[in-house]
């Protein structure tokens, strides 16, 4: 099942702290840049939408050609953004919830400075495994 997906975590200071291409389609260099551009452009929409609701999962906030951006916002205003194609709609909420748990584990590490890049390879492996499972 070939699918494109790009996952980015943006902190509340609007600094991306983690990004990964998690789709199973063959990766092309220029497409990776385009995906990140689309996600960053969607940040404005997310900002407006985040104030209108109390829910964490904002579902799909923006479209570009056939790609859809889904966003999940935590109480600390950290945004998990996923760019995916319309074939992979289900399971995204569970994916976000599991990544949220992983993120909290990183956050509870006393040596982790909140707002800095997540460099743990363990986290990276886990996120990619979750992406294969749910997307």
């Amino acid at each position: 099942m070939a699918s494109t997906a790009c996952f980015v975590i943006v902190s509340k200071n609007d600094i991306p702290i983690y990004d990964a291409e998690v789709g199973s389609a063959p990766k092309k260099e220029d497409q990776a840049y385009q995906h990140q551009f689309i996600l960053h452009a969607a940040l404005d929409v997310v900002q407006d939408l985040a104030w209108t609701t109390n829910a964490m999962s904002l579902k799909s906030v923006d479209r570009f050609n056939e790609l859809v951006v889904s966003v999940y916002v935590t109480a600390g205003h950290t945004r998990f953004m996923l760019l995916h194609d319309t074939r992979t709609e289900d399971g995204i909420k569970s994916f976000f919830q599991e990544v949220h748990e992983l993120y909290i584990k990183i956050f509870l590490n006393p040596l982790y400075l909140p707002g800095s890049r997540i460099t743990s390879s363990h986290f990276d492996t886990k996120v990619r495994a979750l992406a294969r499972k749910y997307l």
């Binding site: 509340k12 109390n54 829910a55 964490m56 916002v73 935590t74 109480a75 600390g76 205003h77 949220h100 748990e101 909290i104 584990k105 956050f107 509870l108 006393p110 909140p114």
Partner: protein, 175 residues
């Protein structure tokens, strides 16, 4: 995220940390010790608030966030809620706890070592005991400040301990 630790161990660690910063690390400079203790509390509060807000919807305004601190956050930390919340609706909140768990073991006899745990009584405080209690209260002030900062509210928190074991925390939101 599910291992458990005895509550008395946690009380012991907090008391020892306060005593270490006051009498060993910054013995002659209580302001620096206070700052460090508050900073430790800040990081703890910051991380704990992320963990305890995981399963609940986000907050729409400051009052909701303060109510979360009074109810859910305090019951996760101390197994009880804040007893009284007052506000002047202009950014100042007073959180009053009538029986603060960490203060019930503070020794009030000024001639004893402050790390001993004995029953408290409501007699007048000696000088060193008052100072140790003030230092100890910087830690929960830091916890509250860290939790609120993670929820997006910049504030200053101070503690008022006019009658033990009740104490109140005054939160001033910076606008």
């Amino acid at each position: 995220m599910g291992r458990e630790v005895a509550e008395s161990c946690l009380d012991g660690v907090v008391m020892e940390m306060v005593s270490a910063y006051c009498s060993r690390f910054y013995a002659a400079k209580p302001e620096l010790a206070a700052g460090r203790i508050e900073a430790i509390g800040f990081q703890v509060g910051h991380q704990l608030s992320e963990r305890y807000t995981m399963d609940r919807p986000r907050f729409s305004d400051h009052l909701e966030a303060i109510k979360f601190i009074c109810k859910d956050f305090w019951s996760e930390l101390f197994k009880k809620q804040i007893d009284n919340l007052k506000t002047n609706h202009r950014g100042t909140f007073v959180l009053q706890d009538n029986h603060f768990p960490w203060l019930t073991r503070v020794s009030l006899d000024p001639s004893m070592e402050s790390t001993d745990a004995t029953e408290s009584d409501s007699a007048s405080l000696g000088d060193t005991a008052a100072q140790t209690t003030t230092m100890l209260l910087y830690f929960p002030c830091g916890i509250i400040r860290g939790a609120l900062t993670n929820l997006g509210i910049t504030c200053a928190v101070s503690a008022d301990m006019s009658n033990l074991p009740a104490c109140s925390f005054v939160v001033r939101i910076k606008t």
